[in-house]
Amino acid sequence: MDAFFASIEQRDNPSLRGKPVAVGGSSDRGVVAAASYEARVYGVHSAMPSKIAARKCPGLIFVKSRFDVYKADSSKIMEIFRDYTNLVEPLSIDEAFLDVTTNKVGMPSATIIARDIKKRIKEATGLTASAGISVNKFLAKIASDQDKPDGLFVIKPDEVLDFIESLPVTKFFGVGPSTARKMHDLQLFTGGDLRKADFSMLVRNFGKSGIFFHNIANGIDERPVVTHRIRKSVGIENTFSQDLSTRDEMLTELRNLEKGLWDRVKRHGAYGKTLTLKVKYSDFEQITRSHTFSDYVTDPKLVHQAVIDLLNLADMEKPVRLLGISISNFKEKESEGPVQLTIKFD
């Protein structure tokens, strides 16, 4: 999507249209989450500290981010993708890889599909998207950046090597500022330089990534488009260097696991209803005990209490070699069915 957050803000607030807009906090510690094309002209880009952005672009309008809205638009877009293929690999909230080699709509050309998708996105969200089409993920991603905004760029199979030849290494997947500096020191500036570079030299300097750089410089990227598997649970477990025999020891270890679990729950936004305690005894017998809450757990204190309760349900006669806790039973995707309304107490 083109300047996704900023375009949504301009769509929903006509007074922002045609003006430099930055989504993000304007405070001293704020960071630009997205910049409209009008702001990009001044060199404002995402992840730039707001302070610097404001200096670069004097009339820059800061807008608070509204992630709920962005997510809603994002899911509309992802739904459209899935009308064409099930092989959709979301890369972020506003971009995804689609493998349309075989597709649901029986269209022979990826270019036609891309045009169709762009049109439907425009109709559904009022936003523009840029598509990149090529023979693998690396080149498709590069292509999508070639013609922004509202672009459609194709790198055909017989154009691949020519295209890579002049491509700056900074555009390569996995080449950040420090790798770029290293490559520049080695006189590697373009895809052509990389292709001609000695394979063993690349591996020596960049390790495993060297193999990857060598391959993609030759137009080879065999990574399949993988649809993200649906996460069913988030968990953490630990096998102890020495078996635990007292309840206190177990509670201490569980306390640590709870912290780790909660970090993961927060990271994945995976708030579930069911907490499961796994206990493996020294004789390798394994039991699980679980508790299902009436609502999605968003407070780690509840986890702590439930862990204690679950431990009480477990047999403590034998030494314990492993403890694990996990949360599952996540919120289902927004159902299309009727929704029970709730009373809004203060």
Partner: protein, 375 residues
């Protein structure tokens, strides 16, 4: 210590208080009944620390005094197996041996030291409030509200029944944020304002024991505990701490579309039609037009559907509103009066259910949030 007690009399008292005992007791001693003999009076206590139930029996034949904790499960199971007969309890306070001697046999268990049984929480006299309620009023208030309490770990206050006392009236309130019940008694007045939140467990214990009671119940409470003293039983419990949300604010006042309908007719229609509702949503729809209500449901997955007409008094706007059938049935089941008034404004706002014929001392209101189709 010795006493003689009728097997069935003892059983009925023990059964009533045994519900206080937790299936997983927080302390081993709480798997016991506490027996305490003082003169001719036998007091038996069961507790899970949060809720304690106490009952007393007046006995004719006793010897000595003392306290002992007796294992609850085996005692209850044994008593159920006895035909009605006098039982001689012979307790050795030194060895804690308990012999239950019958005409034909002897049943022996080992008790525990009654002194280990946790003491009852005391009401703080400075903060205490006292009120007398009839057993009937208390029972009605609990029965009408208990079904609407929540199961919400995050907001424990919602898991109980609010008891609110004012100089004008007394109010029972419960809500799980889908439904809300407000039951007021205009004949219970206090010269102060006070309130407490009674947790679900003691509320349901009271619900079970109150039908056996008549007369007055003395309620005394502070900010942490409450005592309910009845003629045969006493219940002591910890209260839910925290403030109940302001429930009056969420009851919509302006509901122009009022329908008067026979409660039992609607309940029975709902019972039939709801069998055809989607198992996922349990949605039933009420379609209202001039003096007619159509209750309908369908389950697309199984290609089944049903609708049934009901006559009613209605001259409001033609409208359709959806409810979860189980919630609606709960409301209809718990409201008094043969005709009810359903007050509606639009399909996205709460429905208010009140009795059509109000009794003199009661003010009863139930609120149910609708279901939105593709909200």
């Amino acid at each position: 210590m010795k006493f003689v007690v009728s097997s069935s009399g003892l059983l009925s008292h023990l059964q009533a208080i045994s519900r206080a005992i937790a299936s997983k007791s927080p302390m081993p001693i709480l798997d016991n009944f506490l027996f305490s003999l003082e003169g001719q009076k036998l007091t038996i206590t069961a507790s899970d620390t949060e809720v304690t139930m106490i009952t007393t029996l007046d006995l004719e034949t006793t010897e000595g005094e003392g306290v002992i904790a007796m294992p609850s499960r085996i005692l209850l199971e044994t008593l159920k197996k006895f035909p009605e007969q006098p039982l001689n309890f012979e307790i050795d306070e030194e060895t804690l041996a308990v012999d239950i001697v019958t005409e034909k046999g002897k049943f022996s268990v080992v008790g525990q030291n009654g002194e280990d049984f946790p003491a009852l929480p005391q009401i703080d006299e400075d903060k205490a409030s006292n009120v007398q309620l009839s057993a009937d009023t208390l029972l009605t208030g609990i029965v009408k509200t208990l079904f609407a309490t929540a199961e919400d770990e995050l907001r424990p206050v919602m898991n109980g029944i609010l008891f609110e006392f004012t100089p004008d009236n007394m109010t029972f309130v419960a809500s799980d944020s889908h439904k809300l019940v407000r039951y007021q008694r205009l004949d219970v007045k206090t010269d102060y304002e006070a309130s407490f939140i009674l947790p679900k467990k003691p509320a349901s214990l009271l619900k079970n024991v109150l039908p056996k009671e008549d007369g007055e119940v003395a309620v005394s409470f502070d900010d942490q505990n409450a005592y309910f003293t009845m003629q045969n039983y006493q219940l002591v419990c910890r209260l839910v701490e925290g403030n109940y949300p302001s429930y009056n604010a969420v009851i919509p006042q302006d509901n122009p579309n009022k329908v008067i309908v026979d409660r039992v007719d609607l309940f029975n229609t709902l019972g039939r039609v709801s069998l055809f509702a989607s198992q996922a949503s349990n949605l039933v729809k009420l379609h209202l037009s001039n003096n007619e209500m159509v209750v309908s449901a369908q389950d697309i997955d199984f290609s089944i559907s049903a609708h049934e007409k009901l006559s009613c008094q209605y001259d409001g706007d033609e409208m359709e509103i959806g409810f979860k059938s189980g919630f609606l049935a709960d409301i209809l089941d718990n409201i008094s009066s043969s005709d009810i008034v359903v007050e509606l404004s639009d399909p996205a706002r709460a429905g208010i259910f009140v009795p059509h014929d109000k009794s003199e001392n009661e003010d009863e209101l139930m609120l149910l949030m609708p279901m939105m189709i593709n909200a």
